[in-house]
């Protein structure tokens, strides 16, 4: 990366120079990592049932079968835990730089999860944990979250808070199922889902930008509106005649020849349905566009300092309208995934808080597409893991509800500043009135 780091281009008020990581935060982070390592050693290592941890690495329908991976459960967890402790101690004593620390935390998280899985898989001996299945489920659960998070980023980077992702999901899910059922075409379903999400986005845009309504209040109200209107539509139309209005079917996965034959990850990434492929494209497009194009620069300028942007001739309100509506369209696609991408049918409150997890991913990922996607994958993984473990069982039963709580707790810790400072775009949520 020879170009200037994108975030630095627009920094106006924030101090750019950070001379090392202060001792106090280094100690806190280091000790947290050491504690995580101790958990690995004491709980996952010493708490494991005797025997080996079995992992199956072959997904159903894989071309090549790979033999199951057998690891000594306790030993592996202890070794991984010791590595984590060492990393934590090193950070507390010497200190990694900010950039290094990001990777270190990622490694710590990975090692912690592997140690945990070693422990968990000893719960039902002779029944290996299917890793590709777990990852496939993760992607399935993370896709709507990624789309929702991208929608949130599109809106918030341009200075409009989007708490209404949940409502946009619901609208997209409902319209997706309805459109596909009525037209007997999944393509129509996707388009109607995106249009419905876009309409919700337009509602948000008009009230936030033209009528200068408090955006958080607005988001909450739009969520209530979407919940009401989709619930109404479900009772009035879908329930009375499901075959006409609520049997859309769902997208079959599309297998990309050669790529899907890669062991372990092939089917995971390249045997999925069209909405997931669209998500890949959106991820790349939005990440590149936000930091490498004129549109992106303008969007961020409007979100950070609208007055300055206006002064240099950027149309602040128009940029905001466009981005918020686009955000709605992307979230609508995420909503459509919930019905015609996965289950094939709408039920009341089908998004059940996923919009808020997507919002959490935006915040946890510090308003950057990569961070938010990472957070969405992490939250999807937590969800996939809890459904796997609630079936497979662990040596000591872990209530699945606590795993489901994780995304919210993680975000709570994040906003409380325990994992570095979380800072929103400077003008996020502030209406711009010219003059």
């Amino acid at each position: 990366m020879t170009t200037i780091a994108p975030e630095e281009e627009l920094v106006v008020i924030r101090p750019v120079v950070a001379l090392g990581v202060p001792l106090r935060s280094r100690l806190i982070a280091g000790i947290t990592v050491v504690v995580a390592g101790l958990v690995c050693v004491l709980a996952w290592g010493l708490g494991a049932n005797p025997g080996s941890a079995d992992f199956s690495l072959t997904a159903a329908g894989d071309t090549f079968a790979i033999p199951d991976l057998k690891l000594p459960a306790a030993g592996t967890a202890i070794v991984l835990g010791v590595i984590v402790i060492a990393l934590g101690l090193f950070h507390a004593v010497r200190g990694f730089s900010k950039r290094q620390m990001r990777w270190v935390l990622l490694v710590v998280l990975l090692l912690f999860v592997i140690a945990f899985l070693c422990w968990a898989s000893t719960g039902s001996p002779g029944n290996p944990l299917n890793i590709p299945g777990l990852l496939q489920n993760t992607l399935l659960l993370a896709t709507p979250l990624i789309l929702g998070a991208l929608a949130g980023i599109l809106c918030e980077r341009t200075g409009v808070i989007n708490v209404a992702i949940e409502g946009q999901f619901l609208a997209g899910a409902f319209a997706g199922a309805l459109g596909a059922s009525v037209a007997h075409s999944l393509g129509v379903g996707v388009i109607s889902g995106m249009v419905a999400g876009g309409l919700m986005g337009a509602l948000l845009a008009v009230f936030a930008i033209k009528y200068v309504v408090n955006q958080v209040v607005l988001g909450v109200v739009i969520n209530a509106f979407a919940l009401g209107i989709t619930g109404f539509g479900y009772d009035a139309l879908m329930q009375s005649d499901p075959s006409a209005y609520n049997e859309p079917g769902f997208f079959a996965p599309i297998r990309i020849p050669v790529l899907a034959d890669i062991p372990v990850i092939g089917q995971l990434f390249f045997n999925v349905n069209i909405i997931v492929y669209m998500t890949y494209i959106l991820i790349i497009v939005i990440d590149v566009a936000l930091f490498r194009t004129r549109w992106g620069l303008r969007t961020r300028a409007v979100g950070e300092h609208p007055k300055a942007a206006d002064t240099v001739g950027i149309k602040v309100l128009r940029t905001r309208y466009r981005n918020v509506i686009m955000g709605g369209v992307v979230a609508g696609l995420g909503g459509a995934f919930l019905t015609i991408g996965a289950i094939g049918g709408f039920t009341k409150d089908i998004s059940s808080g996923k919009g808020f997890i997507a919002l959490a991913a935006v915040i946890f990922g510090k308003w950057s597409p990569r961070g938010a996607i990472g957070a969405a994958l992490l939250f999807g993984f937590a969800d996939a893991l809890q459904s796997l473990l609630s079936v497979a069982g662990t040596p000591v039963p872990i209530p699945s509800n606590f795993l489901l709580m994780l995304p919210y707790l993680a975000t709570l810790f994040a906003v409380a500043g325990l994992v570095g400072r979380v800072q929103a775009p400077a003008a996020d949520g502030e209406p711009y009135v010219k003059g």
């Binding site: 408090n214 509106f225 109404f232 959490a360 509800n401 709570l412 906003v415």
Partner: protein
């Protein structure tokens, strides 16, 4: 209607811009200006009713059939649409205010039934609305009503079914437990805001789900879950800890209404008559000025979130100790946490307004049940009407544009906490 409305406000505006004259005239001017706010509210209600009517028409099967040959014979569709809308709203009225049929039945219970249902539904909404409104006044947006309500209901419910106390004491203990539970849950968000600057909107949303999953967990463990049950339902609250009915057991209204009115009175006193209330309002109006004046902003945040959470916890008590179902379920919140936000917005964060808004929305909730059973119109229509009312109230200039009123200031929901960084 428009002509009636445009008259007074435009007069007021002239008087207002010239500075309100003192004395009786000033009071009159202010009263009419408040009337302007009232007018906006009424018009928002009218708009919402119209939106609801459109939905009813779309959902009505007869109307849809008649629409098929609309151009051949329009009266059919118009007649069917009118039928659907009028019978729907008539049922809504009969279920929430007064049912003419009950007069012929001749029993007072039947006559009072709808009003009683309205007040029964209003009590938790008022409590939740007060919670949101109180935080509003201190400049915080507490959307954690759901979580605080659940935390309160868990504590109140636990005391209600696990402890064994004499009659009055048991109810009091359960109420106190509920209040503490809600206050702690709200206080966490306040403390996070005060100590780390974590935005209360984000933390309260997250705490909502933490509370929800905590509740799901508790409903699956022994000691909490009802014996011999696979269902996610707790043991029922003992009779001693239930809120008593006010007008006999056949009418639903119970002591939670008294709690709600007392709480409203308490909020009114707090906000307008106490030093603490002054401090909270000062912080809400301008935290920097308040700090300069020597007030502690962080402790105000913690205090108001504790109080707000306590009120939500009380709403949880109303749900679990006074509800139709004396046991905790995953649905103990019944969307009150979020409806309370619309109640507070409609009531413009004032205790009196919140009571009225709570009764209005309680009436909608009560009437929706009858509306569904009589005409098959889904209860969700109430949710739509509520959110549309609030949407219009939040944007008074839209209402003025629709009804061609003169542009004036005021009449809208005060702009509150700004961005995530604010």
């Amino acid at each position: 209607m428009t002509t009636e409305v445009t008259g007074p406000p435009s007069n007021v505006e002239d008087g207002d811009t010239g500075g309100s004259p003192p004395g009786a005239l000033g009071r009159a001017v202010r009263a009419v200006r408040d009337g302007n706010t009232l007018v906006i509210t009424l018009l928002a209600f009218v708009c919402a009713i119209v939106v609801g009517a459109v939905l009813i028409v779309i959902a009505d099967e007869d109307t849809r059939t008649a629409a098929g040959y609309f151009f051949a014979y329009p009266p059919d569709m118009l007649g069917a649409a009118w039928n659907a809308v009028s019978s729907g709203y008539a049922a809504l009225f009969e279920g929430s205010v007064f049912n003419p049929d009950s007069l012929t039945a001749g029993s007072t219970i039947a006559v009072l039934g709808p009003i009683s249902d309205t007040l029964f539904n209003a009590a938790p909404l008022i409590l939740g609305g007060l919670a949101v409104g109180l935080a509003f006044r201190a400049g915080l947006f507490n959307i954690g009503g759901q979580g605080q309500l659940i935390a309160g209901a868990i504590c109140a419910g636990y005391v209600g079914f696990a402890w064994d106390l004499p009659v009055v004491l048991h109810l009091l203990a359960a109420l106190v437990a509920g209040v503490i539970g809600g206050a702690v849950w709200g206080g966490i968000a306040g403390w996070l805001k005060a100590r780390t600057g974590a935005h209360e909107v984000i933390s309260t949303i997250m705490l909502n789900y933490v509370a929800l999953y905590l509740l799901f967990y508790l409903l699956s463990v022994g000691g909490f879950q009802a014996e011999n049950s696979n269902q996610a339902i707790s043991r029922p609250v003992e009779e001693n800890a239930r809120l008593p009915h006010l007008l006999g057991s056949s009418l639903s209204v119970n002591a939670s209404l008294i709690l709600a009115l007392l709480a409203a009175l308490g909020c009114w006193w707090l906000l307008t008559r106490s030093t603490l209330g002054f401090r909270l309002r000062a912080v809400g109006a301008n935290q920097f000025a308040a700090r300069t004046a020597g007030m502690s902003v962080p402790s105000s945040y913690i205090t108001v979130m504790l109080l707000s959470g306590a009120l939500s916890g009380l709403a949880g008590c109303a749900q679990i100790l006074g509800g139709n179902n004396p046991a905790l379920t995953g649905d103990v919140d019944a969307n009150i946490g979020f409806d309370a936000i619309t109640v507070a917005l409609l009531g413009r964060a004032s205790p009196g307004g919140t009571v009225l808004a709570g009764i209005l929305f309680g009436g909608l909730r009560a009437g929706a049940v009858k509306m569904q059973s009589d005409t098959g119109i889904p209860t969700e229509i109430v949710q739509v009407i509520q959110s549309v009312i609030v949407l219009f109230i939040a944007a008074p200039s839209l209402i003025r544009a629709i009804f061609r009123l003169r542009e004036t200031r005021g009449g809208g929901v005060t702009t509150l906490a700004k961005g995530w960084n604010g």
